[in-house]
């Protein structure tokens, strides 16, 4: 049986995953994945200063202060980039280590009074989350981080539903969004604010490194599986929750860090999708390229047959020499042509069938009118077997 602490940890991890997956999807689509890395590190000084003031890692004021540091990071990066002296990735690489190191020094200088260490910040302490309870009028209403993450998630979901259209258009086409009166700047900073607040809220539970993984990995995997923005959001959320729960149990069995295990599962999920996604996965892409190569060879071969009536040009053995192919390739192309009833072979002399002739004539038409793309559609009508 699951203890209530175990259940609470998984619930917190899942809520964090969802809260991260939503802004993460848009960051991935906006090619801004690196900025989440920058935010997650540079909020450290904000957290430390907030902690000095509030002495409570779960105080809303601390979250706001830290999120503000996140926004400052974005502004600084953009400012440095705008000068045109360095590129964006360089600007990111300059800003966040600077801010992060300020945070590290502040912790070190005050190590005696501050219950905050760098390890906890980087890796989080999800296992301890259930012990810090929120008491309202003396009643225990659950772990504090559950309430914090839940509130952030609620805000994120509300914003997503309210501004979905605006987010979509400004992500796809900034110029159009601007001309329609949806200020891309407002939406940009809105998204950055949500990302910052989410990062801070999730930070305490899962640490700086996992926050980045939770934002980017589920969205990157979802991107490879769908061509629909809403489905991409749904899949990101699903991958996030799956990794959070499976990661928790992996940590439980291995007696290892929860955040480390969740991150590993995320990496594994992405790897599997990257390899096996039906159309965009690496295996599907390689298979398609191979098929494409064979089909182009087939069309080349059919064109050759159509252009040459002489027996000598159509002898199976001479094909290797004439079109300059290896034997293996000639054989596989001949097989493909035969399987599709495009050719007949009589006494080692190859002839086009009626179907092969029709296919080739159409292909030639498309090639000379520069409509090669149409050949793809035509293949569906003619081929019984693909390359």
């Amino acid at each position: 049986m699951m203890s209530s602490a175990q259940f609470e940890i998984q619930l917190i991890a899942s809520l964090v995953a969802v809260a991260c997956a939503i802004p993460g999807t848009f960051l991935v689509l906006r090619k801004m994945a690196m900025i989440s890395d920058a935010i997650s590190h540079s909020i450290l000084p904000g957290i430390v200063i907030g902690f000095f003031i509030t002495h409570d890692l779960n105080s809303p004021l601390l979250i706001l202060l830290a999120a503000l540091t996140g926004i400052i990071t974005v502004i600084l990066v953009e400012y440095i980039q705008k000068t045109g002296l360095v590129k964006e990735d360089t600007a990111i690489g300059l800003v966040f280590p600077a801010l992060f190191s300020i945070g590290v020094i502040m912790i070190a200088k005050n190590a005696n009074d501050v219950h905050l260490d760098v390890d906890a910040v980087l890796l989080g302490e999800l296992a301890f989350a259930p012990f810090d309870r929120l008491l309202i009028g003396g009643t225990d209403v659950g772990p504090k981080s559950l309430w914090i993450v839940g509130t952030i998630l609620l805000i994120t979901i509300t914003l997503l539903f309210t501004f979905f259209k605006e987010l979509k258009v400004s992500t796809f086409d900034k110029g159009l969004a601007a001309s329609l009166g949806f200020s891309p700047a407002i939406i940009h900073y809105g998204l950055m604010s949500v990302s910052s607040v989410t990062t801070v809220g999730a930070f305490d539970a899962v640490g700086a490194i996992l926050v980045v993984a939770l934002m980017i990995a589920p969205a990157a995997a979802a991107y490879l599986l769908t061509t629909d923005l809403k489905k991409m959001l749904g899949l990101s959320i699903g991958f996030g929750i799956f990794s959070a729960i499976l990661g928790y149990w992996v940590a439980h069995w291995l007696d290892a860090s929860i955040s480390g295990s969740i991150t590993s599962v995320l990496g594994l999920v992405f790897l599997l999708v990257y390899l096996f996604a039906p159309t965009k996965g690496i295996i599907a892409v390689m298979y398609r390229e191979k098929q494409q190569r064979r089909e182009v060879s087939l069309i080349t071969f059919l064109l050759h047959l159509k252009n040459h009536d002489e027996i000598s040009e159509r002898h199976v053995k001479h094909l290797n020499e004439h079109i300059n192919w290896q034997k293996v390739r000639s054989k596989s192309v001949l097989d493909l042509a035969q399987k599709n009833n495009m050719i007949t072979i009589d006494n080692n002399i190859v002839s086009l069938t009626e179907k092969g002739d029709e296919f080739t004539s159409k292909a030639i038409d498309y090639i000379i009118t520069n409509e090669d793309a149409q050949i793809e559609d035509m293949k569906d009508d003619f081929f019984l077997f693909r390359g």
């Binding site: 689509l29 159009l176 061509t227």
Partner: protein
């Protein structure tokens, strides 16, 4: 040739100024790319903006649409600032300015054209969908409505952009190189739609590269190279002299009479 002259006639509504640009100067990092542009575009013309690379053609359009902030000057759409006249204007950015791998369909991209009239927060419904389908029909892309946009050819992508502008049902259309990277049949389809728009009294402003087709496609032209060189009816000002001034070399385009 006679038909062509008829095509190029300016509709009777000419006389009203659709777009007025006054003393517009635009700079990137304090390096001016447009200097002191004055421009009046009459209502109902089909106008080409021509000039060499780096002449500021796209910049001019983007500044008129408020996407770029000028360092000096002002723009009026039917005598009012652009911000008050958004509903009257549709914009087709360069095809290369967006990520065509974005997870969305042709229909959805066209629907984005309706977002302007919806304003913030309100979501598109059946009415917007119907308008988008009609626009897709007009550009001959209805059979592709559910295609993911990365699976469209360059010409088809451009038609989708055009449909998105049509759905805005605007009075003034700004297009940034709509003929770039499209096949011949798409080019003809696009220019026919633009001519139909002009016939319906709309004003169409096109950043254009192919000087050869200017007299055939357009009735109005603006020569631009950081400064405005000339603007007016094609038949009056599309001359070797203006081309040479704009492109800086001895330019000769044979204009068929």
């Amino acid at each position: 040739m006679k038909k062509q002259t008829k095509d190029n006639e300016t509709p009777a509504s000419a006389g009203v100024v659709a777009v007025k640009v006054d003393d517009l100067t635009v700079a990137y990092n304090y390096k001016p790319v447009l200097w002191d542009i004055d421009l009046e575009i009459p209502e109902g013309v089909l106008m080409a903006i021509v000039g060499p690379n780096g002449a500021g053609k796209s910049t001019l359009i983007k500044s008129i649409l408020g996407i770029l902030k000028p360092i000096a000057g002002s723009v009026a759409i039917y005598d009012k600032p652009y911000e008050k006249q958004r509903q009257l204007v549709a914009y087709v950015p360069q095809k290369g300015s967006v990520d065509w791998d974005f997870p969305t369909t042709a229909l959805d991209v066209v629907m984005m054209g309706t977002y302007g009239s919806l304003g913030w927060i309100k979501r598109p419904g059946q009415k917007e969908k119907k308008a988008a389908l009609e626009a897709l029909e007009k550009v001959g892309m209805l059979p592709f409505k559910n295609r993911q946009i990365s699976q469209l050819s360059g010409g088809q992508q451009q038609r989708i952009f055009l449909a998105r502008a049509l759905v805005q049902n605007a009075s003034i259309y700004f297009m940034d190189e709509p003929f770039q990277g499209v096949d011949a049949s798409t080019e003809i389809a696009i220019i026919n739609i633009l001519k139909a728009l002009r016939k319906a009294g709309k004003t169409v402003i096109v950043v254009h590269h192919d000087l050869q087709t200017v007299p055939e496609y357009f009735d109005w032209v603006t020569f631009l190279n950081v400064k405005k060189i000339a603007t007016g009816p094609v038949k009056d000002i599309f001359s070797d002299d203006n081309l040479t001034k704009t492109y800086g070399i001895n330019y000769k385009v044979s204009i068929q009479e």
